[in-house]
């Protein structure tokens, strides 16, 4: 069903493209090529999907635990800050030490940031939507402060333009690229490919593997451990959980803590794997790329299941990367891509109704019976357009 929804969204997009005098077929071919066309572009898609996946599996935990974490942006930022600060303070450490330490630091920082919202909710009854929205902004200003004062690249201090960014992080902190490994696996499988289509030159780093492994870990955690069971129980029915002797407040904090931790890790991986420095230029969104929000979308597309989040985040990453390629190829305004992505989100989430009878009793949703004719959501959308 989600596939049909995506097709419907793209059809509406085609109409808009026609209205803008652009060739939809050429545009959508560019979208596909831009996301999956070559190993290089597929690598870009996977790189884009990595933070979505990490934020997304965190979201799985928090939504299953009955708390709405929309603070992914802020948690990513503090995670990135922690990794950056640590890497800068240990310029001589070896990679085997530095990388795990930095990633752990980013997880802890994100967990603290998420945990603040958790404590506020559990013990001060401050709604987590309010606190996470506010904490996002606070993290942003904090980042700007650190970038332009404490952590600023010494070279920038004397520069007249004084760009608020750190020095490049030590090379040992770069996440290893996995292209060569993939190539050797290909070879071992007898799939040795031509020189032109190897993984080696791509920028694909180990972050995606970390994400995949953690998705499995979180799946086991949520469904095969007592703690995971209790988190889900609290999310499903806090009152019953209380009667069953579960310390509800503690588990609320825990789910926001873990959720924030994964978002923080996403921030750390962005710094070590992609950016290699942190910068306040362009504000928070330039660092997070909106992954704190898009990760929520990916998680919900994946039915709040860590394993479902994997394909969902890759598809969403593909949409983002391919959308940019579409913009370049047919030279439409970037705003059109935003509209296109929003249509996909709205259609997929609206079509959820039909496929929902299988996934009964999700956290925030009571089970629904199938209803509503297809195409109805399209009509709603057009209402909005007009």
């Amino acid at each position: 069903m989600p596939v049909l929804a995506v097709v419907a969204a793209l059809l509406i997009g085609a109409v808009i493209l026609l209205l803008m005098d652009a060739d939809p077929i050429r545009a959508y071919r560019a979208l596909y090529d831009g996301a999956f066309g070559t190993k290089n572009t597929f690598a870009d898609t996977l790189i884009k999907a990595t933070p979505l996946l990490l934020v997304g599996i965190g979201i799985c935990i928090s939504f299953r635990g009955g708390v709405v974490n929309i603070g992914g942006e802020g948690q990513m930022i503090v995670g990135g800050l922690a990794a950056t600060a640590l890497a800068l303070s240990m310029p001589d450490a070896r990679a085997e030490v530095l990388i795990p330490l930095c990633l752990a630091a980013s997880f802890v920082a994100g967990a603290i940031w998420g945990g603040i919202a958790g404590v506020l909710k559990a013990y001060f009854n401050v709604n987590e939507i309010l606190s996470t929205v506010m904490l996002n902004q606070i993290a942003t200003y904090w980042m700007i402060y650190l970038m332009s004062n404490t952590l600023i690249d010494p070279e920038q201090i004397s520069a007249a333009s004084r760009i608020p960014e750190t020095d490049r992080l030590p090379r040992q902190s770069d996440l290893p690229r996995i292209g060569p490994w993939l190539d050797s696996i290909y070879e071992w499988l007898g799939l040795s490919s031509a020189e032109s289509s190897r993984w080696a030159p791509t920028l694909l780093h180990i972050g995606i593997i970390i994400g995949l492994v953690l998705a499995v870990v979180v799946w086991i955690f949520l469904w095969r451990t007592t703690v995971g069971y209790r988190i889900r129980a609290v999310g499903k029915n806090p009152r019953a959980s209380r009667y069953a002797g579960i310390r509800v407040k503690r588990y609320m904090v825990l789910s926001l803590l873990l959720s924030g931790g994964f978002a923080g890790l996403a921030g750390g991986i962005q710094v070590l794997g992609v950016r290699h420095r942190m910068s306040a230029e362009g504000g928070a969104i330039a660092f997070t790329g909106n992954a704190g929000f898009n990760g929520i979308v990916a998680a919900l597309f994946g039915k709040l299941h860590p394993l479902g989040t994997i394909p969902a985040s890759i598809l969403f990453g593909a949409l983002l990367v391919g959308g940019n390629k579409l913009q370049r190829t047919v030279q439409v305004p970037s705003a059109l891509i935003t509209v296109l992505i929003s249509l996909v989100i709205i259609f997929v989430v609206s079509s959820d109704l039909w496929s929902r009878h299988r996934a009964r009793r999700r956290v925030t949703l009571a089970a629904q019976e199938p209803a509503s004719p297809p195409g109805a959501s399209a009509a709603a959308e057009m209402d909005g357009v007009r």
């Binding site: 606070i138 249509l343 925030t364 009571a366």
Partner: protein, 310 residues
């Protein structure tokens, strides 16, 4: 340092500025209050605000009529609200995620339409300041409260009206019943869907007014993404006000006044890092809520689509 701020003109300036800044939050948050009271969380307020800002601006620019501008914004808000209601109520979509979709839709479409209809940033002649007769002459109070434009007054007038509707009318009772216990409301013969359509559509119209209050009253200009996250703050303020119109107003005023204060602090040359000053409104909003130790639970059915006969 503090004494520089304890001057009448300064305090008046801060208070008046806080009222202006609070206006868009008020519209959006009051509208959102209705939606949430009936059990629908709309995270897409920001997107509807942008669409309202654009349509109002466009109408005023092309027609020169402020009334048409307001009408256009309300109409677009109505359509966006209906669409939101359809997605969330009829199609029972997950509300957090559909809100993000609606936000992106408004963000992209308003920018696209703006680029298609204007060559660049232009201005319009928006709502003029209205000095309320007599009241505006009252020292201090007059300057703070009674020298604003029409849309500011309307926003504040909305608060008691919203309170009255929610607490003293049958409709309000229905809205609260639907948000608290839709099954019971349904059993009593209240159409849950109809009530939710009503509140969400109203919320959309108010969000659009919030945008228009920026583009044709307070700033008289439209620019891409000009709301800069205000829609999300507005949603947060609904939680701050525990779904009560006056609480929402207190939150909007607190947030905006602290924001105005931090601008003034820096204008007065008081030396604190700009980044920390900018943090203040966000920090204090959380802090105020912690100190006030609220014990209000959200509408029981918030974010839960209604399904008959469970």
């Amino acid at each position: 340092m503090i004494d520089q701020l304890l001057d009448s003109s300064v305090l008046i300036g801060i208070a008046a500025s806080g009222i202006r800044l609070a206006t868009p939050y008020l519209y959006a948050a009051i509208g959102e209050t209705f939606g949430q009271r009936s059990g629908v969380l709309n995270l897409g307020v920001e997107g509807i605000m942008l669409m309202g800002a654009f349509s109002g601006f466009w109408a005023v620019y092309t027609s020169g009529s402020l009334a048409l501008g307001v009408l256009a914004a309300l109409l677009v808000g109505l359509l966006m609200g209906l669409g939101t209601a359809f997605i969330n109520v009829t199609l029972k979509a997950e509300q957090g995620i559909s809100g993000i979709g609606i936000f992106l839709f408004g963000l992209g479409l308003s920018e696209l339409l703006f680029q298609q209809s204007f060559d660049g940033v232009v201005t319009v002649r928006g709502f003029p300041k209205i000095r309320v007769p007599l009241l505006s002459e009252v020292p201090v109070i007059g300057e703070i409260f009674f020298q604003h434009n029409l849309l500011v007054y309307v926003a504040f007038a909305l608060v008691p009206i919203a309170w009255f509707v929610l607490n003293r009318t049958t409709l309000g009772l229905k809205i609260r019943a639907v948000g608290q216990n839709p099954q019971a409301a349904d059993a009593m013969g209240i159409s849950v869907a109809r009530v939710r359509y009503l509140t969400v559509t109203f919320g959309g119209m108010m969000a659009a007014m919030a945008g228009a209050s920026l583009s044709i009253a307070l700033l008289n200009v439209f620019q891409q993404n000009m709301t800069a996250g205000q829609g999300f703050i507005a949603v947060a303020l609904v939680y701050f006000g525990s779904w009560r119109p006056f609480g929402v107003m207190a939150g909007a005023l607190l947030f905006s006044t602290v924001n105005a204060l931090q601008l003034w602090v820096r204008t007065k040359g008081i030396d604190i890092p700009a980044e920390y000053a900018s943090m203040a409104p966000y920090l204090l909003t959380i802090l105020a809520l912690v100190l006030a130790a609220q014990r209000v639970d959200q509408p029981a059915a918030l974010t839960k689509p209604f399904e008959r006969g469970e």
